[in-house]
Assembly symmetry: C2
Homo-oligomer: 578 residues x 2
């Protein structure tokens, strides 16, 4: 009852502030603001009462900001992001994203849940909760991504239904097993149905899907897609009822290609996202401000780009109180120099100024809970474990290609000596995926061509999507030492040469660093340089390429802890070739 009375009193105060009968808490003065409903710049004071926008017009406030010459927009929304891909803690991600104008992200904690199960998602929720960055969490739908690998968690349809009750999860994360949907796989459909029954949105992930298969995917409930590569693909998906999220990430730069699909009639069905964005890119180029600049460069009017990044995203995800500068909406606001360069002057979250001139005005960092620490659990690994015994002289080899994550399925002549391959003088390296969740000792072994490392080993605990340890090298001793180093530092990336390790710790689930962003970016840059010096070819990202060599859903040949995986045939295959 007391709570109800307080709520009525709060509403009354907001109404009286709006009506001009009571002074506002905060007023933003002398700026223009973006009316997202008409995609027009307009003028008027913006009066804030508590966490809401109360009115627009001529207002006085307890605190007044003079934003002469600036443009106020709704806080920016990243419609789809994996925070883990930044390799930063949620607090550090917020410290980079919020001062750039981002106030809300739809985050799929797919990576950390593959390591730490739902406790990983809970960690992100709590850590982000200490910052002004609002994070709506999607429940990962594909844990593990395939049955051909060992992840730290396994969420079946019953777990999914359970987790989707209540408010912990905002929706079901990208359903990557799109072939199973079109094939009518009941376990996969049961997950989608659980989301429908919970009245929650389902994110899609349907690269190149088209025609009847796309119809099947849509009828099953997927309502967004961020994997379009061409304008025609985007147009078809919009036509079939999907929201298309134009992606501008660190590795995937789809936005510019997709701009021709956007027109006056259908633009409400597009939002913007980063999906995966690295810490250094965030620090150097920015977050959604960078995506907006990219959109404007690609020919989208600044006003429309912001509408995509605010109202459209809010509508897509059914978030009624976000995405507009209008009375009754949450006072999540970004203040920019203009809608071309998007230099961010100030950011307000729920009525509070949380960043000014690129500097955050918050400093809440919590400790990292045990549940996501010390997640590297490996059985002892000695150099001989990396021995590769072939039956003959021909082996299946993962062929790297420059500037793409797609690999080639090669068959190469490989010399052997004393019951092990002998790779000296070739462009081949050993690759291993070491199960690291249950210390089972399980390892998959393979061969890679085209990486370029000499005299050492590189390893990381970031290896999609199960995040076992993946290690590559030209000698078994350094490979064993690299695994040992990752175990000792609780996960991360390492380069070992002659037994000496240079590392970047990713002590949160083996995926993210608890260090400040600047420190992490610096260490990463140095490690990158060292890897180049050690011979990793240009056109190959030393650690990111490695991270994706375990992802069993990108063609053609991959390695998991269960062995070499032929993505085209979708089965485990042998190193020995005919």
């Amino acid at each position: 009852m007391a709570k109800k009375l307080a709520a009525v009193a709060g509403m009354k105060r907001a109404a009286l502030v709006a009506a001009g009968k009571v002074k506002a808490d905060v007023v933003l003065k002398n700026a223009s603001y973006l009316d997202v409903f008409s995609a027009e710049l307009r003028t008027g004071d913006i009066a804030i009462c508590g966490r809401q926008i109360a009115g627009i017009g001529d207002y006085e406030g307890e605190t007044e900001y003079d934003f002469t010459g600036k443009v106020v927009t709704p806080g920016l929304i990243d419609a789809h992001v994996h925070i883990e891909s930044t390799q930063l803690s949620p607090e550090e991600f917020a410290s980079l994203a919020v001062p750039r104008g981002t106030t809300l992200v739809i985050a799929d904690p797919h990576e950390i849940v593959n390591v730490c199960s739902l406790e990983g998602a809970e960690y992100i929720r709590r850590a982000a909760g200490r910052t002004p960055l609002e994070v709506k969490l999607m429940l990962p739908s594909c844990v593990p991504a395939t049955p051909f690998e060992t992840s730290g968690a396994n969420l079946n349809s019953a777990d999914t239904a359970r987790a989707l009750t209540g408010t912990r999860f905002f929706g079901l994360g990208e359903m990557m097993n799109y072939p199973a949907v079109a094939a009518g796989d009941e376990e996969v459909l049961a997950k989608l149905l659980a989301a429908k029954h919970a009245d929650k949105i389902i994110d899609g992930h349907a690269p190149t899907m088209s025609g009847k298969a796309l119809n099947a995917y849509c009828v099953s409930g997927a309502r967004t897609d961020h994997e379009c590569a061409t304008a025609a693909e985007a147009e078809e998906k919009v036509m079939r009822g999907m929201y298309v999220l134009l992606r501008e990430g660190s590795a995937s730069h789809d936005l510019t290609n997709l701009v021709p699909a956007v027109n006056d009639k259908n633009f409400r069905r597009f939002a913007l996202c980063t999906d995966d964005r690295h810490a250094d890119d965030l620090a150097r180029e920015g977050h959604m401000d960078h995506v907006l600049r990219t959109a404007v460069k690609a020919g989208i009017k600044g006003e429309l780009a912001v509408v995509m990044c605010t109202l459209n995203a809010a509508e897509c995800y059914g978030i009624k109180e976000k995405g507009a500068v209008a009375p009754g909406y949450d006072a999540d606001l970004a203040v920019f120099d203009d809608l071309e360069h998007f230099n961010c002057t100030a950011v307000f979250k729920r009525g509070k100024c949380v960043a000014e001139n690129g500097k955050k005005l918050f400093s809440d960092r919590g400790s990292v809970p045990v549940a996501v620490k010390n997640t590297v659990r490996v059985a002892p690994v000695t150099p001989d474990k990396f021995t590769i015994k072939l039956k003959g002289s021909r082996a299946r080899v993962i062929g790297l290609r420059r500037n793409t994550l797609v690999t080639q399925k090669l068959v190469e002549e490989v010399e052997s000596r004393d019951g092990d391959v002998c790779l000296e003088g070739s462009d081949l390296l050993r690759l291993a995926v070491v199960e690291r969740h249950f210390a089972s000792g399980r390892m998959g072994l393979g061969l890679v061509k085209g990486y370029g490392l000499k005299g050492g080993a590189a390893a990381t605990t970031v290896s999609h999507d199960s995040h076992n340890i993946i290690v590559i090298g030209d000698n078994k001793e350094d490979m064993a030492a690299a695994v040992e180093e990752l175990k000792n530092i609780g996960g991360g990336m390492t380069l070992v040469r002659g037994g000496k390790a240079q590392s970047v710790p990713l002590d949160i689930a083996g995926l993210m660093s608890s260090a400040p962003a600047a420190k992490h970016v610096e260490l990463s840059a140095k490690l990158y340089e060292a890897a180049r010096e050690a011979g990793v070819y240009e056109g190959i990202e030393p650690f990111m390429t490695l991270s994706f060599l375990a992802l069993a859903v990108i063609p053609e040949l991959r390695l998991t802890d269960r062995g070499l995986f032929d993505v085209n045939d979708f089965c485990i295959t042998s190193l020995d070739a005919e």
Copy 2:
């Protein structure tokens, strides 16, 4: 568990139908269809599985319809309607609306709830549930409309909060007490808060509201408005975050005036509605098909008009599964000759063909429950009760004006004789509002100028919003007989001349007829003619004008069962003038 398995099986079948692996139940062939996401006509078979659209492309079905040359659109949505205003039962309303292409209405049962409380809403829900017309019910927010009248029900904020839990009501109906919102009235705000807490939409009603008062109204949660009279008003409301419903009713023809407010950027924020539409107009001109024709005549492209009437309405009300021809959406479809004349060839509701060539293919009529019958409860009324005793010779008189519902507050010289007014030879008539819910015997008396009736009395149980009996006449005997007649027929409209009554029964709550639509339209037309013959002036709607003389929120002078009401001063006033 069995239910869950069945649901998964259903989803699987839909996916396989979409994928082209299983035959569809129904396929619409050879038509073009409206892609509402791009407002473009496209081609492709529409495959239906159960109640959903499964896919668009090249499909085969158990049943196939050849719609060569036709255009398939989503089923039309009336975004705001009072079904009671048709004076038809929900079944008969559906029988006129569905064959015209309407498959969903957002209905505010404000009239019947003022008579029968929530049982009135329940009646509408059940009656509509027997038809293919889907009715989303809003909970009336203003029962009674003012404290200055006696209605059959009283819903305070606690009742409102209770009624809004669960799924019975889809949202809170139009908040007409907009001045109270801007003034911070706590009881009114508590109703709005109850809707917010229940996560339900709030319909607005804010004629001419602007500036800070509009801000206050919006911050309190109202998200739609159907009362705009000018394009500028509509633009301001859209700017402040409201959806504007372009109204084309029987009495209010706002749509054409508002079209200049609509542009490519903001058109997503407009939907279409009828608000109040009479049976004869429905039968003669149509329902939303007529609104669409009107929109096209006013210059809106047919494709865009349909988008307003489908996707926009669905988005406005957060109805995710409606408003598009796309896989996963409900198979609510209308088939038209073209998007200019909107001649309706066929209508599908949840995959079933429910109307063809203007003929309904359903015939479900239920009995009318006791709760909404026999609602006319009046104490005996004898002619002497209509005696008007003035203190002097000057009286306040309700002055009718032609072609508007706004009245004038007149002061006239009135002759009296034997303790009663003597109106012979003047243009004045007696008016009375007789409380009819509790047989309290309470009556309000007044004088009207400009109605024109000679030698009789006209009366109706439809009198906004409390729906007491309102009776007008030049002799007390016919007035008493008219009240008696309405009591005997359970409510309706009647014209009594020399003791002889001609009536139209409105036996459902005194508001709606249980007769077939054609019969009701015929009776109503005859009564209308009779009223004209009895002298009612051109420019005055014999019964509708009467119905609105009790509505205490339209300027300037009204009559309730509690007496003469001065709308400008918002208080009861005296018949005696200075």
